[in-house]
Amino acid sequence: MMSNYVCDRSSAAGPVKGEPVRITIKYYLAIFAAALLLAPFIFHGTAQAVVPDPTEQLRPFLDKIVAELKSEEFKQDPSCLQCQRIIDIASEHFDFHEMSKRVLGKQWRTLSQQQKDQFVTLFTRLLQYAYIGKVDDYVDKKIEFDKQRIKGNRAEVQTHLVDTNKTIPVSYIMILKGDKWMAYDIIVEGVSLVRNYMEQFRSILRDEKFSGLIDRLENKILELENEKNQQEATVGEGTPTSDAG
């Protein structure tokens, strides 16, 4: 539209005598403007072709995590020394920073860099217990990949966690960083994990401020750690007695 407009004006100026040089410049300008306007469309086409496939990145990544969770090494690890390794693998395609940013919503911008880092670290550890702690959930279930959709630099990959009697839809919401799709939200049965924590954190932030939220996070992580240790302790005690019996 713009370029047409420029062309029209220059052609209208055409019949005016004694100004041939200006017309040429105007034509050049018109072509230049047209090129500028068209460039995004031309590059958009090529950029689309380069965008990596989110499902193709997610599939091997989830396989890798499940394999790691199922490994004997991990199972016989009472103090969770392997946990850091799981987090390292998870960090390949989970963007805990993007996740934390969204969980805190508008509050995020008011935090200092140090506070942001502190929150990201704690929130990552919380999620570690939320998902790594639930190993059993994945062992006898199958992950099936369904549709995906891409919108700009965001993508949604839909999967199904298939059990013997039920199927749970789980969607991964991802952002393209470089050539890697990084997940920043998980939608289970339509419920966004980020949104769910967001609403809980909102009231804590309102009543207890940021320091209160950090305390709550630390307490929750401790609580989950203790629970995990207790479970292992009972399992550990259970084995020798059954051997003796």
Binding site: R102, K106, K134, K151, Q158, T164, G190, V191, S192, L224
Partner: protein, 263 residues
């Protein structure tokens, strides 16, 4: 027989009264615009928008929290142990069939509600499901329509119909032995569930109606053991986590045209 009819009829009247009260008392939908808007997780606006519970409102929060604790207590100490025991005795495929059976008996209701909401193709799907599952699925014990023919289950309730007609949610409500809902949806469910579900016509009075309801719910719980505990364990305020989860889930099951086919 006469007693049965009387009890059921009385119940029906109660439900209709509750229903009429809601329709007349609840102000028209304030949150209609947002209620209808499809959720797009790929849009950052989604993460900036207000949660549904803020829009619907929770003026009875202290009452609801008390009811939440009551339900939580009952679930933890009564229903969960019973459902766990039941899950050990009855194999999972039978429990699945029992669930299908109850679900199938409510398909005519979903058919009516789909039509009332103007979702004619969904109404067709529900009708096919009912016919196929009642005959080929042996009185609804199996779900061949969904599993083999690809007619997936579709949700349509009176609560949603009322929403489509412009009746607001009223407010968030936690009902004992029932769980999270809103005033509008609860009255809709009472009519849907109690007054119009065929299985309650077998009942000889209140006790049996309660027994059928509890049996149906226990069977359902036995298929989702541990999920509530996980939710509670991972949350900082289980009351808010459940409220938020309820609204998000409801929005999903009522979003009948989720855009999935971009690729």
């Amino acid at each position: 027989m006469i007693f049965t009819m009387k009890a059921t009829f009385r119940l029906f009247i109660v439900c209709v009264c509750l229903f009429i009260a809601t329709v007349t008392l609840v102000p028209p939908a304030v949150s209609m615009a947002t209620d209808d808007g499809a959720t797009d997780f790929l849009d950052d606006e989604f993460y900036d928008s207000e949660p549904m519970s803020v829009e619907v409102g929770d003026p009875l929060e202290s009452f609801n929290r008390a009811m939440f604790r009551f339900n939580d207590f009952n679930y933890t100490w009564v229903f969960n142990p019973v459902a766990t025991g039941y899950s050990h005795i009855v194999p999972v495929d039978i429990r699945g069939s029992v669930g299908n059976f109850f679900y199938n008996l409510q398909e005519p209701l979903r058919f009516i509600n789909s039509i009332l909401q103007g979702r004619l193709s969904d109404a067709g799907t529900v009708l096919v499901r009912f016919v196929v599952n009642t005959t080929g699925g042996v009185a609804g014990l199996g779900d061949p329509a969904g599993r083999e023919l690809g007619f997936k289950a579709i949700d349509a309730s009176l609560g949603e119909t009322l929403g489509v007609w412009g009746i607001g949610d009223g407010f968030y409500l936690v009902v004992p032995f029932y769980g999270p809902t809103t005033l509008r949806d609860f009255s809709g469910d009472m009519v849907d569930g109690l007054a119009l579900s065929p299985y309650y016509y077998w009942a000889d009075g209140w006790e049996e109606i309660a027994a059928i309801y509890l049996g149906k719910e226990l069977n359902k719980m036995s298929l989702y053991l541990g999920e509530y505990e996980d939710m509670k364990q991972m949350s900082f305020d289980p009351y808010i986590a459940l409220r938020n989860g309820y609204f998000q889930y409801r929005k999903k099951i009522r979003d009948h045209n989720i855009p999935l086919y971009d690729e």
